[in-house]
Amino acid sequence: MSTHETRSHFVAVASIAAELSAVMDVAKEISLAAANAKAIAFRAGEKAKGFQPITDFINELAKDTIELVDDINEHAFLLYQLTVKDYRFSEANKRFEQVRQITGEAPFRESMTEPYQQVRYKMQECRKKFNIDISRLQEQLAEVMHPARAARVIAANSRIEASQAGEYLQSLQAVAESVDHAAQIIHEKVQKCRSALSAIDLAQ
């Protein structure tokens, strides 16, 4: 793997971590929005009766998103550690190759055969694991899309219920808008993560 490809893996994994951090913040905002909506719906009483169960859905969605993102974050960190290992093995492989080229007729030249083979083996194993972990991360990211889609549907329903809530219309619509907006952001950021992952293609 070239230095350029190694650098692109670091960048891809780091950018995924950065996007996920933003997703986590947004998921927490949804949670807050749910708490606000619950309080408003409680004050609105009968006028917002249809809204009340929606707030529970919103809260559940936020929790699910946060749990999924937590898992993904852990996984992304392990992936980052793998990129560091891969970098170290690649660098060692490159330098061991240089040793081979300049050793000439050194009496103990052959003693480097085993370390050289070991490092190449470790590099290949690391890349296999990396590819498996990338696929797994893609699956996890796909899972995060589900609550985000559901949130948009809930936001749409919230707007309908909010329209029945009289003087609480604006407050509840604001909640619906913030949930919808948050869901869109999650969707965009997760899409970016998936694109970044698709760009990684480790040579075996």
Partner: protein, 242 residues
Amino acid sequence: MKMNKIYDGSHQWIMFGRDTNKPEKIIDTNQYIVKTAKRCLLIDPGGVELFAPMLAAILHHAPVENITDLFASHQDPDVISSLGLWDQALPNAKLHAAQIWEGFIRHFGCESIEYVAIPDNGGTIQLDNVELQIIPAHYMHAAANFNLYDPEARILMSGDVGAALEEPGSPMFVENFDSHIEKMRYFHQRWMPSNQAKRAWIERVRELDVEIMAPQHGRMFRGDDVKRFLDWFEGLQVGIAV
């Protein structure tokens, strides 16, 4: 990479340096090995860029699996940034380095090499029948710094003390001490932070029987030039940047 055997008795000391292929902007460094029948101690292994020529040179003297010990006088990249590569190359090795630098040096990569932490008051390294003394040299220049002394070979590896910035192709040993002074002066005045630490180091080293003083940069000192260096250094005011 030039190689120079500087001691040949029951064990050997070999100095490596003056690599003509090193990248231009990288400081030149001296590396040393102490070699017994079955083991090698690599002293101040060098930076990343020197790893390949250094290992290629060692393979003229010993197989890679005989490199059982590394010593780092301090934490600088020109001393030990190649650690991550040695970590991949050496199947069974220990790194002897300062206790307080462990958390920092590990950033270079140290997963299979065992870190043997040296406490502030020093210790010893046993290499088969050879016992090397780890001599405290703190603040000379690093906050934790050690020299290595071989009482049988009468060699003191002095780290940055005695260093000089030389032209490529310069001799391995100081030939005329007086003309060597100007190559060392600014380095010691600027890099060594403490006159108090300097005096403590000189006092300690005067107790040793040193035939060769082997620094990490520049020429080595032998015979009377060792005493000339100590006398000169004693009179030099250091720590000039404040």
